[in-house]
């Protein structure tokens, strides 16, 4: 049975990048996500909020089939990326994860140089034909991630030598380097100080001109700042989704109101 989430507004400005219908996730026998219907619009930041254990990260991981690597995890329903079913047997999950990049809560640069961190993806996916092209890709990715000026003179130094905020931007640059269409972020700023957080948020705003972003965040203030649409999850259900401004000034569902005003967690 599908929960019909309350959609506070209808946005026709952007085409739809991802269409999720009736998505259920089971860990063994336990149903963790109960039939989620959600549209993600292109070139927008969509934020997923909700208390711990509500299913938002589980849902996020469906979008690039990261749940495939979890033992005993089963996904039902359909997820279409630009109209193509990402769970069809014809889809190569590795190629999917090139189109759909992911950034995690704890920055996780490879134990390689800054240069190689970025170059790794394009190399193994065979996206570049020579060293010059690779250099260009590395520079472009680091520039888009707002990191180029800070690291251009030390590209051979290890990525792990950067500060937390820089490492996270390195991970974003790494995700961008393989030309994804969709970027998933799972609490990307939780481990960062306020300045580093602000830089990543600014980066998100710039990136959405060319990419679509879905972010899971514990901070409602962050969701309010960075996203155009917000989806509220609770106990494995998608309760309400709508324009961010509407969700935070006048949500339709009592549970949404209760959560965002701090009346229950």
């Amino acid at each position: 049975m599908l929960m019909n989430p309350k959609d506070s507004t209808v946005s026709t400005a952007h085409p739809t990048k991802v269409v999720a219908r009736g998505v259920k996730v089971f860990y063994g026998a336990a149903e963790a996500l109960h039939g989620v219907d959600l549209d993600v619009k292109a070139n927008e930041v969509t934020s997923l909020i909700g208390p711990s254990g509500c299913g938002k990260s589980t849902f996020l991981r469906c979008l690039n089939r990261m749940n495939d690597v979890i033992d005993g995890c089963r996904v039902e329903g359909s997820i279409l990326l630009d109209g193509d079913d990402i769970y069809s047997s014809a889809v190569d999950p590795v190629l999917l994860r090139q189109r759909v990049g992911m950034v995690f809560q704890k920055p996780n640069p490879f134990p390689k140089s800054i240069y190689d961190n970025i170059a790794y993806g394009p190399r193994i996916h065979g996206l570049v034909s020579d060293r010059n092209e690779l250099d260009e890709v590395v520079e472009r990715s680091l520039t888009k991630a707002g990191l180029w000026n800070e690291v251009k003179d030390r590209l051979q130094q290890p990525g792990t030598g950067l500060s937390g905020g820089q490492q996270q931007r390195l991970c974003i640059a790494r995700a961008i380097a393989v030309s994804p269409e969709l970027i998933l972020m799972d609490e990307p700023c939780s481990a960062l100080d306020p300045i580093a957080t602000a830089k990543v948020e600014e980066l998100m705003d710039e990136l959405r001109a060319n990419y679509t972003i879905v972010i899971v965040t514990h901070s409602m203030q962050q969701a309010a700042r960075v996203s155009q649409r917000t989806a509220f999850f609770h106990l494995g259900h998608l309760v309400e989704v709508g324009e961010t401004e509407q969700m935070f000034t006048n949500p339709q569902d009592e549970r949404t109101q209760g959560y965002i005003t701090g009346r229950f967690g």
Binding site: Q221, P251, I260, T261, G262, F264
Partner: protein
């Protein structure tokens, strides 16, 4: 929302904000009542008292403003909390204006008492009773978060406008009958206008309550029947609509 915040001090602070507004409202209510009482009984001492008390209302408005800004900065309120806090700022401003108008009525009463009483002055207490009932009801609506009651008060302002229009005509006629009446009638005109403006501010409060509670704005234009901007000659029916855009 009847549910409590997880952080109890947040609820305590929101309660305090409500209390401040209720206190301001009660003061504004009693200022108007006392001012009109002073007018009816031609009591200049009582009127002077009203004028002196106005500073208490101003002080409360400052307190509400400061407290609301503090809540905005420290609590990052969302949804209903945000609307209530912003609503309190607006309501406090309207209540301060209402109390100001009451003090103005009191000032003019002192001037009036230097002259002999006149007939149209008797219409003023009737007009102010309408407004006094509106203040009481809108404050009740605020405390109870009662949107229906707020809308009802919002609609009643038309009666105040009607009373003002009719008093306007009466005063013009009186002035034309005898130029010696002009000073007194002019004061009464201002007094009547002040009371009419109080009614308008009460409707602002009603609109704010509606938005704070429901999250929607009252979109339809409030019916206004103050025809006085269109009155050409006191004896004529005003040329122009029964509904007018206010000055």
């Amino acid at each position: 929302m009847s549910q409590q915040h997880i952080v109890a001090s947040y609820d305590a602070e929101l309660s305090r904000l409500n209390q401040l507004i209720a206190e301001m409202g009660g003061l504004a209510e009693s200022q108007l009542a006392t001012a009109v009482d002073a007018l009816s009984r031609r009591d200049s001492k009582l009127a002077a008292n009203v004028v002196a008390q106005d500073s208490r209302v101003d002080a409360l408005e400052n307190e509400v403003d400061n407290f609301a800004v503090r809540l905005l900065a420290l609590r990052q309120p969302m949804a209903s909390d945000l609307r209530n806090i912003v609503g309190s700022i607006r309501i406090a401003a309207d209540l301060e204006r209402i109390a100001d108008y009451a003090a103005n009525v009191a000032k003019r009463t002192i001037a009036l008492n230097q002259n002999a009483p006149v007939e149209p002055a008797r219409a003023i207490p009737r007009m102010s009773r309408l407004v006094a009932a509106m203040i009481k009801d809108v404050l009740d609506a605020y405390v109870d978060r009662d949107v229906a009651k707020a809308i009802d008060v919002w609609g009643r302002d038309i009666e105040v406008d009607d009373a003002y229009s009719s008093l306007f005509r009466e005063l013009l006629t009186y002035m034309m009958e005898d130029p010696r009446n002009i000073t007194v009638c002019t004061h009464l005109l201002f007094i009547a206008k002040n009371i009419e403006r109080i009614g308008d501010h009460i409707t602002n409060i009603a609109e704010t309550i509606h938005f704070a509670v429901s999250g929607q704005r009252l979109v339809q234009a409030r019916p206004k029947t103050d025809e006085t901007p269109f009155a050409a000659h006191p004896g004529d029916a005003p040329a122009g609509a029964a509904e007018s855009k206010d000055d």
